[in-house]
Symmetry: C2
Subunit: 318 residues, 2 copies
């Protein structure tokens, strides 16, 4: 039948899928990552999942065209090395070499997880009919990837782009986990939204909807916005302002045909898409003359990373 | 002998060069643009300059491999159309078609002027030994270009990148000529530097070095910084802060091997390179693990655009 294996190796979960040439996930397995543990131990777990998938589908590794692994960190796709992944507490790991011990005849490709996700959306998801696509994931952090001319854009040195680390303010108000100040991630991630909320509550006083008992979380904040709580609406406006600033920068530098939002916060699409499109179009660079990309929610969710990882082999021939 | 013609068509000057295969400008002609005037009239002027160059070098158009034109505006390189160019007051002009009336057997390529400049620096200038390069021009406006994998990066829809229109502040303090608020250009251009200076003088009081009755200009401001005027030093620190924020964003999104500064303000390299490198390296995304590009002054100056334009034909075969 052909097909390839796509692996989404995350800090919390590992998902392994058998993906058809037509980009369908034929079957899949999910387990907890149980990080931190050694790369060799993670590899063993994944290999046994691949073997179960093959058995269940009456296939052998000879039926596969390749294995692709999406990794939550900085990946040198030329050498195959994962340089570091904070969530996995791993650095300088060469997964293709580890996998070759089990599947010596298969090509094994690695990529950054957000790069795999945008490739998946581009090939089989919400960006399928677009020549280029930018994915921006709004979750624990802010990440993303770009496909241009059918290929993942990884920048000059090939180590991958970091849309979450656009500097959106020049005052040194908020330190980002990455070391920089005032990255988009410090405002647009889940933690960023909660911090913004605490900031507004501190200056504006408690709101009925957001008052203690804490803890604050994104769902409660978005519910308060939907209930038209004035303080929540202020928080929402500031959140949209930061995200719109980041998106305008991304359009000026990447000119994608479409922008997809992914990650946990994108579930609140009713509070994001329309206000963001409005804020971006209001004054974007030459928006009266140049095309402005539409903003949509990524459609494949957690499948995007599996499909994209399974299709990493395309890159080697483009 | 071979070689090709490179044209740098600017709002003020037109420069036409005969460029060897080895990227040397064999000979060149410069005239005033005399804008605004029709594209047909500009074409006639350039054609006569090309003919003089050919005559003087005892060549005919058959000796040329191509003609390339760098244009100060948004260029659709696929159709060959200049969508618009503010300084020339031209829009929707197809220069390749106009040139074909005079040179029916030559391929004519068009590109954005900053894209041509970075290609020139990449092929023959300060970025010659680097696999990728970003050029940032600090002049009347802020512009730039990127070469990745030997090719000009023009973004998803191919209409070209705009590094000057990174949004570096989310407050709506300064309106940019492009329609957006708080673009890098509004702080890092010559006008931006003068505006910053006026702002600091208004809040801090006059400085001996910067007081009236002169009109402020970049040279006087930089002289006051060199003379260690405390107010000028504050202006300088703020200027570097904005530029460093923009450069950190550019590194996160483009990962170039080298960053070159061009444009009029880059003449003050003694006040730019060292403080910028320091500000960027101090906290840049994962700078302790990932390579941080060095920052240097572009070396070819006005020649870069001519050389890059002459080499646009490369793009069609890459």
């Amino acid at each position: 039948m052909g097909g390839s294996i796509g692996i989404d190796l995350g800090g919390t979960n590992i998902a392994v899928g058998l993906v058809s040439d037509a980009c369908d996930i034929v079957s899949r397995k999910d387990v907890k990552t149980m990080a931190p543990r050694s790369a060799r131990s993670i590899t063993k777990t994944i290999v046994s999942l691949i073997r179960s998938l093959l058995n269940e589908n009456k296939l052998t590794s000879k039926d596969l065209s390749s294995i692709g692994i999406g990794l939550p960190g900085i990946v040198d796709t030329k050498s195959g090395e994962l340089l570091f992944a904070t969530n996995l507490k791993l650095s300088h790991v060469n997964f293709p070499e580890l996998f070759h011990e089990y599947f010596p005849n298969l090509n094994v490709y690695v990529g950054n997880d957000a790069d795999c996700a945008v490739l998946g959306e581009y090939l089989a998801g919400e960006a399928k009919n677009y020549a280029s696509a930018l994915l921006l994931t709004l979750g624990t952090g802010v990440g993303g990837g770009l496909v241009v001319d059918g290929k993942i854009f990884r920048g000059g040195d090939g180590l991958g782009i970091e849309p979450g680390h656009i500097v959106v303010e020049t005052d040194r108000a908020v330190k980002c986990a990455c070391g920089q100040w005032s990255c988009l991630e410090t405002y647009a991630s889940i933690q960023g939204l909660i911090r913004l909320t605490e900031e507004v509550l501190a200056s504006e006083g408690d709101s009925v909807f957001l008052q203690s008992p804490y803890p604050l979380n994104a769902i409660r904040i978005f519910e308060a916005v939907r209930a038209k709580d004035p303080i929540a609406e202020k928080i929402h406006a500031r959140y949209i302002g930061y995200l719109a600033a980041g998106i305008k920068t991304l359009v000026a530098l990447y000119r994608p045909h479409i922008i997809l939002l992914g990650g946990g916060l994108s579930n609140a699409s009713d509070l994001l898409i329309e206000p963001l499109e409005k804020a971006v179009r209001r004054d974007i660079f030459s928006g009266d003359i140049l095309p402005v990309p539409s903003i949509r929610v990524a459609s494949l969710r957690n499948d995007a990373g599996i499909i994209g990882a399974a299709k990493l082999y395309r890159e080697s021939s483009l």
